[in-house]
C-alpha cells in the first residue's frame, strides 16, 4: 500500500494540484502524471543526469526527489525553458555542433548547460566539462556538447 499526498506546485509557470503516491519520484510525476515527457528517466538512481530539472531555481536529479515533498515548489523542465526562450541559443548551438546524437541525454545536458549560462557565464572549457561531468552521454558525444556550450558562452561575452 502506498499512501497518497496532495500537492500544489508550479510547473513551467502553471499551477497544478495532484494526488501522488509516496513512491513517485519527480521524473515519473512529470512524465506520467503531467505528460511532460521532455525529462528523461535514465538510470533512476542518480547517476546519469538525464532527468535533470530545475526546482526552486537550482538543478536537481528528478529521480532523487520525492514528488510528494514538492508542495509549494517551483519546477522548471526543458519544455519550460524552450517555451520561455531561455535556451534558444543553446538549442541552435546543439544543432550547429551536432551535439545531439541519439538525443536521450540531451534534455539533461541542456538543463545543466542552462545552469552554467545562468550561474557561471565566465566558465572555461575545463569548468564546462566539470559542470557537465554528472551528465552521461552513452553515444559519447561529449566534445560536441562541450563545444556547443562553449560557443554560447563565448557569443554572450
Amino acid at each position: 500500500m502506498s499512501q497518497r499526498t496532495e500537492i500544489t506546485l508550479t510547473v513551467n509557470g502553471e499551477r497544478v494540484t495532484r494526488s501522488v503516491e509516496a513512491r513517485r519520484h519527480l521524473v515519473d510525476f512529470l512524465r506520467l502524471d503531467l505528460g511532460l515527457t521532455g525529462t528523461h528517466a535514465g538510470c533512476e538512481h542518480g547517476v546519469c543526469g538525464a532527468c535533470t530539472v530545475r526546482v526552486d531555481g537550482v538543478i536537481v536529479r528528478g529521480c532523487l526527489v520525492v514528488a510528494a515533498s514538492l508542495d509549494g515548489a517551483e519546477v522548471t523542465t526543458v519544455e519550460g525553458l524552450a517555451d520561455s526562450g531561455e535556451i534558444r541559443a543553446l538549442q541552435a548551438a546543439f544543432v550547429a555542433r551536432n551535439a545531439a546524437q541519439c538525443g536521450f541525454c540531451t534534455p539533461g545536458m541542456v538543463m545543466t548547460a542552462a545552469d552554467i549560462l545562468r550561474h557561471h557565464p565566465e566558465a572555461t572549457r575545463a569548468e564546462i566539462r566539470e559542470h557537465l561531468s554528472g551528465n552521461y552521454c552513452r553515444c559519447t558525444g561529449y566534445q560536441a556538447i562541450v563545444d556547443a556550450v562553449q560557443d554560447v558562452l563565448e557569443a554572450a561575452r
Binding site: 499512501q3 542518480g46 543526469g49 529521480c63 520525492v66 515533498s69 561531468s133
Partner: protein, 270 residues
Amino acid sequence: MKWPATSYRRASSLGDVWQAFAEGGAGVQLLAGGQTLLATLAFRLSEPALLLDITRIPTLRGIALHGGALRIGALTTHAGLGRDPLVARHAPLLAQAVPLIAHPAIRNRGTIGGSLANADPAAELPACAVALEATLVLASAQGERRVPAGEFFTGLLSTALRPGELILAVEVPIGRGGSITEIARRSGDYAMCGLALVGARPVFFGVGDGPVLARGAGAALARGDVEAACAALDTDLDPPTDMHGPPAMKRHLARVLLRRAAAPRQEQAA
C-alpha cells in the same frame, strides 16, 4: 527500479519527529536531501514504512558562530557550504571539500547531516569532520547529547546515532585551516583514496570502513618528517581490497596524497 511502496509525511518541528519515532519505530526513515537514501530505495536496499521529511524544520537550518565554534545546521546543503562566507572564513576545509562531492545537481540537495549520518567510508565530509575535531550535536525525545566526530563513526555505514535520534548540527572549531585531496577515476566519483589534513591530523577516506586517522603518520608529520609519515602508513592503514584495487595500491595512493598535502608545509618551514 521503481521505489517500493512507502508513505510520506512532512515534519514541521522536532516534536513531529519524536512523535513519528514513537509511533513508527524502526520503520521511520528520515528524509533530508535524499541523495543517497532515494537511490537505495531504487536498488531496494531499503524499504522504509515511512519517509519522514525533515527539510522544513527550521531548527536544523542555519550556519552561525556559537562560542568558539562554527555551528552548521544538519540541513545545510553541500552547495550551501560551498558558498557560505562564514564557512569560507572559519572552516575553509569544508568549502574546499564541496567541489569534490558528486556533481552540481547532487550538491544542491545533499546535506551535511545526511552525509555524516550515512557514513560512507569514501565520503569527504566524515573525514573532514574527524580531521577538524568537530562535534556532532544529536537530539532525541530524551534531549541533546554531543559526540566528538572521532567517536561518531563506528564502522561501515555505521554511527553512534541511536534509534530515535537525529543530527541537529555539526560544531567545527574555527580557524583550523587544512587541506583536502583525493584521487578518483572520474570527476564526482567517490574517491579511490582521499586525505583531509588539518595540522598534523591526517584523516584518510576510501581506505577503510570509515574515516581513518593515521596516528603514526600524524606523529611523524608533527616532527616535520614526511618520509617517516609515509612509512608509518604501512601500519596506520589496513585498507580492504575493493573494486579499485588491492591494499598495496591504496597505500601507494595514500602516500602520494600525503606527500602532496605535506609539501606546502615543508615549503613554509623552509
